[in-house]
Symmetry: C2
Subunit: 346 residues, 2 copies
């Protein structure tokens, strides 16, 4: 007799043990939502048509991320939205067209199925919106107190079209640095959702997929040198990676940084810099100077790029240095934080 799964069901160790209870959970929650024929075959692997992949480009992109965000649900999304869009974005910023995702759930005993369903439905919606399929998965259950409700891993496969070469090492002196929108919205929203802030602001995560915007950007400007989505560590971490990989320096213009007033308020309260806050739907791109203005104008026509702007430039050196031209006209160094600023932000 197979135990039925309802919204009121709480996950038990049996749901991860490989028997009927696990089958029932997989069928009534995961396959029901994702509805992929590959997943429904219940083989240990998805099998993807090679000719279809090879027709789209000359390199396969492959990436992985685990999502351990706290809280699981927040204004603007939940861990499922994040797990799909975050991994899609990691593919897209390399110039890849995202195609397939895996999903692996580590569930803490006691989790309500109602919450799991909300997360899984958010994953389904995000995948559908992006035109990707969730094709293979895994479910594990850990005892109460040995996890934290739900951790999700997604790995992604995409294809990079011939001729596209996006890499941090390609940044050159004189290039411009573009950001696709306001900084720090995700980080501020999560802090607010945790109740860490005595602030009444309307903060909302910017969690979204970027590959539509990126397709348009690469179409307009195939010479984009480097691109990253500015998640954990924020724009500051990305710029440090660019500076170190290319042996160049970076200069930001403080007066050009797009930050919503309510996020600026959070930063001021905490004494933190929005450049260090996580984003989940913003990218940083480095492009040849001659093409920067045209590209920004084009980006602003896309819903994910409405607030796109130029925020800085690549300098000759010293290699690895990231500096900010302040509002007052001075220069300050922007350090890569040593440690923990915003734990479990993604």
């Amino acid at each position: 007799m197979t135990p039925t799964i309802t919204d009121q069901t709480r996950i038990t160790m049996a749901h991860g043990a490989g028997g009927r209870a696990m089958r029932s959970l997989i069928e009534s929650v995961f396959i029901e939502a994702f509805g992929s024929t590959e997943l429904a075959r219940m083989e240990d692997q998805a099998r993807l048509d090679m000719a279809r992949l090879a027709a789209q480009g000359d390199r396969l992109a492959f990436t992985t991320d685990s999502y351990v965000i706290d809280p699981l649900e927040f204004p603007g999304g939940n861990v499922g939205t994040l797990a799909v869009n975050g991994t899609l974005n990691d593919l897209a910023v390399g110039g890849a067209r995202p195609l397939y995702l895996s999903c692996a759930f580590i569930i803490e005993e006691g989790l309500e199925v109602a919450l799991l369903r909300r997360v899984v439905h958010a994953m389904r919606d995000a995948a559908q919106e992006a035109g990707v399929s969730i094709v293979t998965g895994d479910t594990k259950v850990v005892p109460h107190g040995k996890g934290d409700k739900l951790f999700i891993n997604t790995s992604g496969i995409g294809v990079i079209p011939k001729g596209i070469e996006v890499a941090a090492s390609r940044c050159q002196p004189g290039d411009r640095i573009i950001v696709s929108g306001t900084l720090g919205d995700h980080g501020a929203a999560i802090l607010q959702a945790r109740g860490d802030l005595a602030l009444d602001a309307e903060l909302r995560s910017d969690c979204r997929s970027l590959h539509g915007l990126i397709e348009l950007m690469l179409d307009q400007c195939p010479e984009i040198r480097a691109m990253r989505d500015a998640t954990r560590g924020g724009v500051a971490a990305i710029l440090h990676e660019f500076a170190e990989a290319s042996g160049c320096a970076v200069r930001l213009f403080e007066d050009q940084l797009p930050v919503k007033p309510e996020v600026r308020g959070v930063c001021e309260i905490l004494g933190l810099d929005a450049l260090h806050f996580a984003n989940e739907g913003k990218l940083v791109a480095v492009v040849p100077a001659a093409q920067a203005d045209g590209l920004v104008a084009r980006m602003q026509q896309h819903p994910a790029g409405l607030d796109a702007c130029i925020i800085g430039e690549i300098l000759d050196g010293p290699g690895g240095r990231v500096q900010v031209r302040t509002l007052m006209g001075g220069e300050r160094l922007l350090d890569l934080p040593v440690g923990e600023m915003l734990p479990r932000i993604c």
Copy 2:
């Protein structure tokens, strides 16, 4: 200043926060061990040559598994051995040649780097032995009490050569069922390692990669109908999947089941059936009757198949039924367990 990582370092939240501490951990533990040029590029994704993939077959195989085993270290391996071999095996049993792995770590605050290093070195060794590369990864840290030392996800990519069609639905009446060796070694070893057994037996996990053995099997018998590695849920779970997917029934011969005496002892103490115990280096294959004996003989020449034997046959029906011809000559049904028998076995 970048904090240095030694064996005595304990993981802090900072090691997952996207700043210098995380960089330092990734460089001195993960890149140091895996040494893959793709990983060392520190881009958000690996980029794999499509022509090289397409030259090896007409389908890309893609799989994922999270590993939450308790304890992390056990006779015969550790969670790292398991995380590499388990995912490789999921690719190989579909007829794929495993090529690339991702690895994503969820680390509980407080974990000693010495343990992490042992796990990572085991992953490196297992990957090298199997000839696969670990090309992309992720690190997250959760607070003390919100995880259990270490969870690892690996996702894998392989290529299935043209003409190979291995699927549970292809089992046909008259086919023979082969197992590659003794049953239940992993499950019994983990129970012993947990101290759950008042038993002095020398139990050792059978954790190993199977794709060498599988290559040889497909070479000898490309008509293999179905293949699975018998992990969580044991051989019993696999046979239920075969019976349901093919609409056939399965009959096992109890007197043919290979079980080590010390594992049989564990089963007797616990009143459990070795057919339900997890294995981490054993496969079940269904093959046309005419080729079964020859294939078994060939398997026995490979280190991973020394104890290979025929354990049963596929029957016309009733569809989904799995029965055992007992030592006494009677027949009993082998049920798929409803719930939890051996939690966190992988």
